[in-house]
């Protein structure tokens, strides 16, 4: 299959049509159906789009993504198509508009092949909270593909689309990328418009790409980034040319000392990270172990703030305006309560309850305000590190992909995100690149966090690490 944008372009230059490329992907999706990566394949509309792009290629007006086949996470709006956030509460819902990130890809000639399975409302780290079943890891079907963007990761790893979009609130792009051997980028908060992304926790959520190459990550970011009239939190900073290769002659890298001391971290993840450190040092770069004594607090802070924001964001699902309505409800209040209780899954209800609690009278200051203060401390301390260093290096995940059903306790599941939530709490950009090959046969990623809006530096450094 065509694993990169470059491969698609080569096929097009050799005379292949976009329609036939799409058909090849459709065949592959059908063959690998048991992965459960796609919730729906947009067969009709993607072929129609492909035909239009073929015509544009003929007339020489095709964009930079002509013929690139993209899958989108099932929390991204695409006009006239269903979107459900993998939840029963959005049963039958059809998008009324196309989100900015998706539209920008379409405007450059990309075609949208379908919507990809994920944890319900992006709440999960294994894709097991989806109302439509778990996604299997294409590298070992007994393992999870990670979450919440499990379908997006699996589809790219299995060659079911050229690239995909996911969203990352606490690691939902980087963790599944690590588990599937793909590239996953969470841009700086505000770099890509969130318009058309079903909100989970608005001060954390970011859309980002899954790809099989750094060049593809850079190009997709290039196209999706930038200000947007529909999202006032989207940054108006100019979008630079990504991956220009510029790096300081002596790269300064901070490694968070405490990450190696994390309970349950796989020794091979540690030794791979140490090997990268040794290699960088041998090339004259400065790599130091820096103490960041807040690792025990990042996941709790993340859960106070994201559940609070989720409880507020998800109040719009009321059984009245769209989606599922309980057939037995009488009156307005019962309509709300029964529709929500029947429509939401267990993990979503758990988080709404926790979030409502931390925002409730008498507990607001002790939990919610406290967590916002901790968030400030984390951001200040992280910025301090970046005053002396160019990048922070740490594993993406403490281990490789775990067994389906292997993590049952909610808190243990929350701790899967221990290395990834940091960047969402502070807003910094972070990239996971496939780096390790574990003796158990599974891949794992290494994560680089960069200065705010320095995605260019991140990509340059990642390319340097790969060579």
């Amino acid at each position: 299959m065509y694993r990169t944008i470059g491969e698609v372009k080569a096929q097009l230059s050799a005379g292949k049509t976009v329609v036939s490329i799409v058909q090849d992907y459709l065949t592959e999706i059908e063959k690998q159906k048991e992965l459960n990566a796609f919730l729906e394949v947009f067969t009709e509309s993607v072929l129609e789009q492909a035909q239009q792009v073929d015509e544009k290629i003929k007339s020489g007006t095709a964009g930079r993504l002509a013929g690139v086949v993209i899958g989108i996470k099932d929390n991204l709006c695409y006009k006239g198509h269903k979107v459900s956030a993998s939840s029963n509460i959005l049963h039958g819902f059809e998008s009324l508009f196309t989100g900015t990130a998706v539209q920008r890809l379409i405007d450059e000639g990309a075609v949208i092949i379908g919507r990809l399975n994920c944890d319900e409302f992006a709440m999960g780290s294994s894709n097991e909270t989806s109302a439509f079943g778990t996604v299997k890891n294409p590298l070992d079907p007994s393992k999870v593909a990670g979450g919440s963007s499990g379908g997006s990761a699996a589809a790219v790893a299995a060659g079911l689309c050229t690239a995909s979009l996911g969203s990352d609130t606490g690691g939902s792009i980087r963790q599944p990328a690590s588990f599937t051997g793909t590239y996953g980028l969470k841009p700086t908060y505000g770099r890509i418009s969130r318009h058309g992304l079903i909100a989970y926790a608005s001060s954390f959520d970011q859309i980002g790409p899954f790809t099989n190459s750094l060049e593809d990550t850079a190009l997709l970011l290039q196209i999706m980034a930038g200000k947007d009239a529909y999202d006032s939190t989207a940054s108006s900073r100019e979008v630079p040319a990504y991956m220009d290769g510029a790096l300081p002659s002596k790269i300064k890298v901070a490694v968070l000392k405490e990450s190696f001391e994390t309970k349950g971290i796989d020794p091979e993840v540690v030794s791979t990270t140490e090997a990268i450190i040794a290699d960088l040092r041998s090339k004259g770069h400065e790599v130091e172990l820096v103490s960041f004594p807040y690792l025990d607090y990042v996941v709790p802070a993340y859960y106070v703030l994201t559940t609070a924001e989720a409880s507020s964001n998800l109040s719009r699902f009321d059984g009245v305006h769209f989606g599922y309505r309980s057939p037995d409800a009488k009156g307005v209040e019962e309509t709300y309560k029964k529709s929500r209780s029947e429509g939401f899954g267990k993990e979503v209800k758990r988080r709404i309850m926790a979030g409502t609690f931390v925002l409730s009278h008498g507990y607001y200051d002790a939990y919610y305000t406290k967590a916002q203060k901790v968030r400030r401390v984390l951001q200040t301390k992280t910025d301090e590190i970046f005053r002396s260093y160019d990048f922070i290096l740490l594993p993406t995940t403490p281990s490789t992909a775990f067994e389906q059903g292997g993590v049952k306790d909610p808190i243990q599941m929350y701790l899967q995100d221990i290395f990834t939530v940091h960047a969402n709490l502070t807003g910094h950009p972070a990239l996971s690149i496939p780096f390790g090959n574990h003796s158990n046969g599974l891949p794992f990623g290494i994560q680089i966090i960069g200065k705010p809006f320095d995605e260019n530096g991140l990509l340059n450094f990642a390319a340097y690490l790969e060579n």
Partner: protein, 96 residues
């Protein structure tokens, strides 16, 4: 922190959710675990620290106040579970 039945009922009502029987026992325990997990934040010294509320550096991105139809009435009603030509419909509030 101990979560009581009353707390579960109160929070569930605020969240417009219902928990009965086994589901209620389960959510009570889960809330207790999750909230205890959150309590470690009390160990972080936040004396004189302002809460971090806004993650975006953008301030007051103003635009001209121009009226436009971004969604038609038909589109807005399209996804409603129950509607008539002009309105969302809800079940009767009072039974006669």
């Amino acid at each position: 922190m101990k979560i009581t039945d009353e707390t579960v009922d109160h929070i569930a009502h605020l969240a417009r959710l219902e928990f009965e029987g086994e589901a209620k026992t389960a959510i009570k325990q889960e809330m207790e675990t999750i909230i205890s997990f959150m309590e470690v934040l009390q160990q972080v010294d936040t004396e004189n620290v302002e809460p971090l509320i806004f993650m975006s550096e953008e301030i007051n991105r103003l635009r001209d106040d121009v009226a436009e139809v971004t969604l038609t009435q038909a589109e807005v009603l399209k996804n409603a579970p129950k509607k008539d030509s002009d309105y969302f419909r809800i079940p009767k509030v009072l039974d006669k």
